[in-house]
């Protein structure tokens, strides 16, 4: 992971080979009305790397994550994930439903509030993407769904309904649902923030397992110890800018920027 502010990576290639590059973001901007939420974000994530995104509330972490799978449409900039590329520089924006959908299908996202589909049981939640979007036949989609549910430790709850599950179980189903699309990257937006403290561990264990298997991931998290131990890179955001980015241990243990230090000082309990 390298952070290169303001360099135009489309013209000036980084030393990374294209095949090693999984996420590339150049000059990303987003405003909501007068509020500039993302000011100029540049980001490169190599295949298989785990990035933890930290920063105070309102700094734009969720907006950045949602811009990466186009749930939120950037005002300007360039976003590439795997083979999918979208250029939002002026006059060059393709916003066709079909293209957006194809882009999103290639990125898995896990939300703070799980957002399971309440009118479907667990295995149907996991199958619906492959069946509807990838046009897989139901039988093989179900087999694959059960496989993924065993991976997150929930094969025995396949026929349960979401409301019968604990928060931790719901979030693990949501992870399986995202993995079922065979995405190039997984994005986690505070995946454990809505959970009872006792249930956080089981979800973090699944994320850690994905990291070990080489999944490229970006995690927005307030779990600083987890970020330090699992992520390769930590990015600290504030007011729509990347303030500091670097090796996870270095950023968490010896932040260079005063703003990062100040932010981390609120978390010392969590780092013990």
């Amino acid at each position: 992971m390298t952070y290169q502010p303001n360099s135009d990576l489309r013209n000036h290639r980084s030393p990374l080979m294209d095949k090693d590059l999984m996420i590339e973001v150049v000059g990303l901007k987003k405003s909501f009305g007068p509020l500039e939420v993302l000011r100029d974000i540049n980001l490169i994530v190599p295949r298989g790397h785990v990035v933890a995104l930290i920063g105070p509330s309102g700094s734009g972490k969720s907006t950045l994550l949602r811009s990466l799978n186009l749930l939120c449409l950037p005002d300007a900039g360039y976003v590439a994930i795997g083979d999918h590329k979208m250029d939002f520089s002026a006059g060059n924006v393709s916003l066709r439903d079909r293209d957006l959908a194809a882009f999103r299908a290639n990125t898995g996202m896990v939300f703070q509030n799980f957002n399971l589909f309440p009118h479907m049981n667990v295995v149907e939640n996991v199958m619906v993407g492959p069946v509807t979007v990838l046009k897989q036949d139901k039988k093989s989609a179900r087999e694959r769904a059960i496989e993924l549910l065993s991976k997150v430790g929930l094969a025995d709850r396949a026929e349960a309904h979401p409301e019968q599950l604990s928060g931790g179980q719901k979030q693990r189903v949501a992870i399986a649902r995202a993995l079922a699309m065979n995405p190039d990257v997984m994005l986690f937006d505070e995946a454990t923030s809505a959970l009872d403290p006792a249930l956080v561990g089981e979800v973090l264990a699944v994320i850690r397992q994905l990291a070990e298997q080489g999944m490229t991931m970006i995690l927005v998290t307030h779990e600083m110890a987890f970020a330090r131990d699992v992520a390769d890179t930590v990015i600290f955001m504030k007011d729509g800018y990347v303030v500091e980015a670097g090796d996870a241990r270095q950023v968490i243990n010896q932040p260079r920027e005063a703003a990062t230090r100040e932010f981390l000082s609120h978390f010392h309990g969590g780092l013990a």
Partner: protein, 219 residues
């Protein structure tokens, strides 16, 4: 009061009344279907967020919600042909009016059902790459429909009641046939009591169903 009740006389008019019931039921089913179809189109138009469609649709909806059906019916039959120069039959005027009147209310129910679905459901569907139609069909509508069905049934009960207004245009619905029977038998008390009882017999099960659906949704 020593009125001599005589329901037996009405028996010979049973086919007339059945025909009336058939008209009432037929107009109800027809205008519930057309009303829901047009109402869905109105709802989707309003949800599109495009001002060129939302503004006219909102105007039509408010027009039909804020004027009495009877006025709409009479206006459509007597006044509209003067504007357009095209005569329309009473059943046609009745069909048009009840369709748009129903659509105005149905569209609000349908729109309300759709917007009541948590925004996170849209996010989750989009995040796995669903396209607009797939998201609506697989995620949003199945959940919204559960919430919409009780108010849709209630609105359809009103729609059936409103068909009784068709009698003013001489559409031979249940009430109109009752008027015919009354003038033939001079037995308004029995006839109109029977008419009311028939409406009750049809509508009571329907309203119970709506209640049952509501309770089931709450559970």
């Amino acid at each position: 009061m020593d009125y001599q009740w005589d329901f037996a006389t009405l028996w010979q008019y049973r086919y007339l009344l059945l025909e009336g019931l058939a008209y009432t039921a037929g107009f109800t089913v027809l205008t519930v279907v057309s009303g829901v179809v047009v109402g869905t189109i109105f709802a989707l138009a309003r949800l599109s967020g495009l001002r060129v469609v939302t503004v006219p649709v909102m105007a039509v909806v408010e027009l039909f919600r804020c004027t009495p059906v009877l006025v709409q019916l009479v206006w459509c039959y007597y006044a509209l042909p003067m504007l357009t120069g095209v005569e329309i039959s009473p059943p046609m005027a009745a069909f048009l009016t009840l369709t748009l009147y129903g659509a105005a209310f149905y569209s609000e129910i349908i729109r309300g059902g759709i917007v009541s679905i948590d925004i996170g459901q849209w996010d989750a569907g989009r995040a796995i790459g669903m396209r607009r139609g797939q998201l609506m069909g697989k995620i949003i509508l199945p959940q919204a429909l559960r919430r919409m069905v009780p108010p849709l049934v209630n609105q359809s009960v009103l729609q059936l009641k409103n068909t009784s207004l068709l009698s003013v245009l001489a559409v031979p619905d249940l009430l109109y046939q009752g008027q015919l029977v009354t003038s033939a038998t001079y037995r308004p008390l029995e006839t109109y009591t029977l008419i009311a009882a028939i409406y009750l017999a049809v509508l009571f099960p329907l309203t119970r169903t709506a209640h049952w659906l509501e309770d089931r949704n709450k559970a």
